[in-house]
């Protein structure tokens, strides 16, 4: 099943915020076509991993490497990563009053298309593209006319993230707790948007605390991150087992296969 070179290859990654170490040696390989879930308790470093891959500068990489398509990802500024096809769906999407959602999408898409050597879309093509993607996430057209996330509900912000993903068509999408704060309808809509996006050329990393999202976005691999390290990896059944037994199970010293786990 796992053929070819990984699209994303994380090796022995250590990262800190200020002087505080968060990631303490993460290894992860993601290939095109795969969906990975990274699960873990609060404070385990899940979001840090997502943000380091997207290029957030507050997180300082202290050791290890991240290769993307064989190139040194850590040497690239965030905008280059985006243009190369990496997308982070934010846990807390930022409100940007005064910047129209629609114009923002258009400028972002054109930046990415230009980088890929594609022609910028004309207004009609752009509009058609957006409206088609909009339906996938069951998002109201009026949200396009408003400022980016300005006054959006939690669910609207998350849908807006998935809309951006669907429009920008990245190769590697990282969803950082996209399920947090969603009611069941929004969860289904967001999941439908993500599933429509799945394909043999694309990879998805789903970062989540709960198993719930994985009922809708079914992963090929599940990794458990505890205290800055992946302590356990497996198939989707691992998520179900976690749901049943809680994180204490993998955290407990001497637990089955949890030789690296610490507490």
């Amino acid at each position: 099943m796992r053929n070819g070179n990984p699209m994303l290859s994380v090796e022995n990654l250590h990262a800190a915020i200020g002087e505080k170490p968060i990631l303490r040696g993460v290894d992860l390989a993601v290939r095109a076509g795969e969906v990975h879930a990274v699960m873990g308790p609060n404070g385990s470093g899940k979001s840090t991993l997502a943000n380091v891959i997207a290029g957030r500068e507050e997180y300082r990489v202290t050791a290890g490497s991240v290769l993307y398509e064989g190139g040194d990802l850590l040497a690239m500024p965030p905008e280059e990563r985006a243009k190369e096809g990496i997308f982070l769906a934010f846990q807390n999407p930022v409100e940007i009053p005064g910047v129209s959602n629609l114009y923002f999408l258009k400028a972002a898409l054109n930046a990415v298309r230009k980088h890929r050597g594609l022609q910028e879309l004309d207004v009609v093509e752009f509009r058609d593209t957006v409206l088609e993607r909009l339906r996938r996430v069951e998002m109201g057209e009026d949200l396009l006319r408003r400022a980016v996330n300005d006054g959006f509900s939690g669910g609207e912000k998350k849908r807006n993230e998935i809309l951006q993903m669907a429009v920008l068509e990245p190769r590697l999408a990282i969803l950082d707790e996209t399920d947090s704060g969603l009611d069941i309808d929004a969860l289904k809509a967001v999941s439908a948007g993500v599933n429509a996006f799945r394909g043999p050329e694309r990879a998805i990393v789903v970062v989540t605390h709960y198993q719930r999202l994985l009922n809708y976005i079914v992963p090929d691999f599940v990794h458990v991150l505890v205290d800055g390290r992946i302590v356990r990896s497996g198939g989707r059944e691992l998520a179900l087992e976690l749901e049943e037994r809680g994180y204490g199970w993998v955290q407990a010293p001497g637990a089955d296969g949890g030789g690296e786990a610490r507490l």
Binding site: A54, G55, R56, E57, E58, P77, P78, E79, R81, A82, K83, F87, L88, F90, P93, V94, I96, P97, G98, V99, S100, L102, Y103, F104, K106, A107, A108, N110, A111, V112, H115, V123, F126, R127, A147, Q164, L168
Partner: protein, 446 residues
Amino acid sequence: MTLPAEARDRYIVAFDEAAGGKGRPSWLRRLREEAKERFLADGFPEARHEDWKYTNVAGIAERRFEPPPRDDDGLSPSGVAGLLPGEDAGNVLVFANGRYREDLSVRRPLPPGVHLGSLSDALSGKGDALVPYFSRAPANAFADLNTMLMEDGAFLHVGKGVEVPEPIHLLFLTCGGGRPSMVHPRNVIVAGEGSRVTVVERYAGLSDAGCLVNSVTDIATARCATVAHYRLQEDGPDAFHIASLRARQGTGSRFAAHSFSLGARLSRSDVHAVLDGEEAACLLNGLYLGDGERHVDHFTTIDHAKPEGSSREYYRGILDGRSRGVFRGRVIVRKDAQKTDARQANRNLLLSREAEADSRPQLEIHADDVKCTHGATVGPLDEEKVFYLRSRGIDESSARGLLAYAFAADILRRFDLPGVRRASEERLLGWLPDSGRIREFLDDPK
């Protein structure tokens, strides 16, 4: 600080020249004399004066400003065409170095009941109608200096119930002929009961000489009148710009004072609105930009004197380089002014480590049943927002420029006059780096 003898002589000469004109009413002569006495006794305000704590005007006090050149400004109708408003056509009164220039102005028919002309014309007779406006207590030494030396400006009177459909533009050009000169524009705007009018005051510097522009505008809004006033300050980079805008509002009247300040090395803008009738509404909405060594000071007072008034005050500044922004927002709610609803917000964006902003809300509430809020912020761009934009493929400098633009555009979107709003947005874009790329976010994809 008392004026040194040399400066004293200079200002007396200037006074004799300005006030000595023929045919001026005697009441004005008296007011000018009084202003002169006060100014010569007190001189320019010192830093220890509470109202001038953050703004040092020693640079003005020390400079030898002369009366502006008389006739050699070289301005022609075709030469100023590019300075006229492109949109929102209407009457444009052009003042060059403080004097009305009919040859440069654009005059269009106005509805009956509207008088628009130069103040010096209005004062060439008895000008009794103007007495109340000139008699208002001066805001500061500069207002006295204006009364003492003023030569011209605009006089607008809108009669009862008249709506003026097109905005009235007042364009003040300063073209100093190489030597530092001073001008003291004076405007009076009177809106009769139930009338409606929009006035755009724009100041533009056409020379690099360090001129002093020291203007005073008095506005009266009668019962249920609506006045929108715009003040666009684009004086030259070495100019000093001092302005005083005073409004007295009657019952149920609405007054909006919009401003955009992006010129002059030092500017100080006083706004004083008195809500002197019940249910009056006042909006002060201003944007200021600072770079290099610029110093820009806004000093506002909203005086709620009667019940059920409402005021909204929004000022934002972007400060770069080693510039400094000062905002003072004084709100007075008098004992009678129950049910007052006053809100004030001042936000400052610092684009460099050396830039500085001082924000001082000052609420004086003497009534008990009122709603008053204020908020002030000073800080750099939110890095979280910068990262969000970058993570979508937008390069860092465009992301920063766009966020700064959006921050400032929040003020400009309240400019109801489309032409002025668009022109102001253009000026803002021109000031920001990477405007070309910011534009991409603004073009309507339809």
